[in-house]
Amino acid sequence: MRTTALNNAWVKTRPYANPTVLSFVAAAILFAITTIAAPGFASQQHLPIFLTEASFIGIVAIGQFFVIVAGGIDLSVPSTITASAIVLSLLVGSNDSAVWWAVPAVLAMAAGVGVANGVGVTILGGSPIVITLAMNVLVVGALIAVTGGAKANSSTHTIEQLADGRIAGIPGSVIVWAFLYAIAAVVMGLTTFGRRLYALGSRRTVAIFSGVNPTPNTIATYMISAMLAAMGGIILAGHTGQPYLGLGDPYLFSSVAAVAIGGASILGGSGNVAGTVAGALTLTILQALFPILNLSPAALNIAYAVAILATVAFAANRAVTR
């Protein structure tokens, strides 16, 4: 939507409070409610399990965050996750030492997908929704064509440990999540690259006129997103032991929702990576809440809807200067 900056009714200034802080508050409230409803929820046995579940969404959401902040969106995340999980399992087979070259290989494959997305969006000039959408179908199709639908089995030790192994009681996937989050926070918050992405997402023309080169920066975001999705897929492979088609499907909704709940604007240009953590936690809590309260998937869907609207409505940055 092309709008001008009209200094009147359309420009509202400043959110009620920092959107990221608000999203954490919301997550904390939900956590408290769940703990009351199910006292075992916060126990030493259950908490790591809960955090592992959250880490999958969290890792993918970080990648989605990069793309969204720069003004795009990555709808090819589901197939990238699925393909990474299956390809890794097939490459490794039962040969544990193969992990050391298989993981980089899968990440490189994902990077290729990301670059293709980026090129489609920048050089070809297509809209991100359309390009990544097509890529999603292409990757799945290619996966089926190449593997012929073979069943993959990823029960090697290293991969399992990566996901479920514990260090000081903390599951491997959570450690990976924390590590990736830290890097992302530094990059987005402290580097010139982060500044360029925020500028591109706020108003692309201004960024270009300020000397930002949109092409490599945008391609980089799609590459990052794809690689993080692949990371998520790899860890999922270790966690589930038997990756299947459709493994990555739920993560489209949840990665975008996590970014939005975390207070970032869907149009780009604002938001904090920390918000994706709160978003991932919120979604996972909701997921957990329902079996506990004995509610059907129907109610879960309705609750998702309300949760998204409520948190985004309160947390959304209201400076509508587009």
């Binding site: 009147n8 400043r14 201004v206 006129f209």
Partner: protein
Amino acid sequence: MHVENPTAQQLAVGDFASRTLEGQRSDLVVEAAVKRYGATVALDGADFRATSGEVHGLLGENGAGKSTLIKILSGAVSPDSGRIELFGREVRFRRPIDAQRAGVRTVFQELSLVPDLTVAENLVFSGTDASTGLLRRPRRLRRHAVKVLDSLGVEGIDPDALAGDLSLQQRQRLEIAKAVTAEPRVLILDEATSALAATEVAWLTQLARDVAAQGAVVLFISHRLPEVRAACTCATILRNGSAVGTYDLGGIGDDLIIQQMLGRKMERLFPDRESQARERVVLETRGFGPVSTSGGADLVLHEGEILGIGGLQGQGQAGLLLALYGAVRAKGDIEVEGRPGRLHSPAQALAAGVALVPEDRGTQGLLLNKSLKENIALGILQQVSRYGVMRRDAEADVARRAIASLQIRASSPRQLAGQLSGGNQQKVLLAKMMATEARVLLLHDPTRGVDIGTKAEIFQTMDELSKRGISIVFFSSDAEELIHVCDRVAVMSHGSVVETLETAGLTEERLLRAAVRGEGK
């Protein structure tokens, strides 16, 4: 308040009111209008009266409340309190459509044309279903558009062209046509001349008078005093959200007007300057311009020189600046600091020491949802970082220095750019480009929509920059600015430079003649 000219005929609001009691009606009355945006008071109990049959000017700095008053009269914004009376009846506008139904038509500064609709469609488009019949029939619509444009003397606009493809000047004329053709009872022209050339301003002045003669109230807002004098019989001056007086323009001097607008005496608008141009050539072009336009410009820019770009509107000046900056694909030869080769992107231009202050500060120059600091830093990321990591202290430092040296009025470097007034936003934009330490500054109409006080400050800054050896290419739609600020003026027509004139002793007529003569070629 010390009145400069004792012979000036000053009708204070009170006097006007007493004239009303003598039987002179006021067709448009605004009483005690108040509008606040958070902590900012835009209108502080403004009283305003205007009569039909004459063109009434509205003067004031940015932030004086002019735009807010206009928006209230147009229905775009609702006042917090106060009343409006139109032809004797009280009215309450909640949305623009209410004002339009009451016969108010506004030519907005931001323009209300829909880019994806054609010229013909834009002429009749409104929120109502009134134009349905015409919209359904493309051929009849087109004929209607041709008739309207011809009858108003608007030339050179294709009724089937998309409004978004027109030049700024064409869009402004179309916007004016759209408002006038609706036969309004109140016509508001908000900075309607900002993109027009001198000949077209005369056209608009005549149009405004015609509409007024037909019994409408016509309000004319402009920052250019000569235009206001030419078009209006009287003018109301706003300052700090209220009206300080309504004056008969016949007997009042510019100095008093400016004094009333500013609330203080003002030094001259243009700096007393001498050319600082040196021998060395920093920029040279031959046959240069955007690939999409005809013609090509031959320019020579010396170190420390302020070179003006003039000519009638829409003759390729905007495209030239964009091409020089690498923002559009260019053709022709160019040498920057002796190095040949075109600049293929703004990033390359900045690296070569060429910076552009673009036309539209809101959509091309600044990120309105980001702070002052961040905006300034965006153009100099490498300078305020080390190995790719931002240095907050360096960033804050640059911002503070910029605020101080350009006297930017902001609460802090953290204030959002979108919250600043137009003039201050322009200063931030200028500061941002100056921070890049460019040796060649391209300025695209930097004083458009900027108050007089800030204009003077910007011209002063330009003079100081030239003294430091920085070369400036200055495109302005105001001939007076070109004459008083520049060392030379390159007059453009159809994408080429037809004549380059020294500004010493240059008159506006001479400049206009050169511009028009280029037309005939």
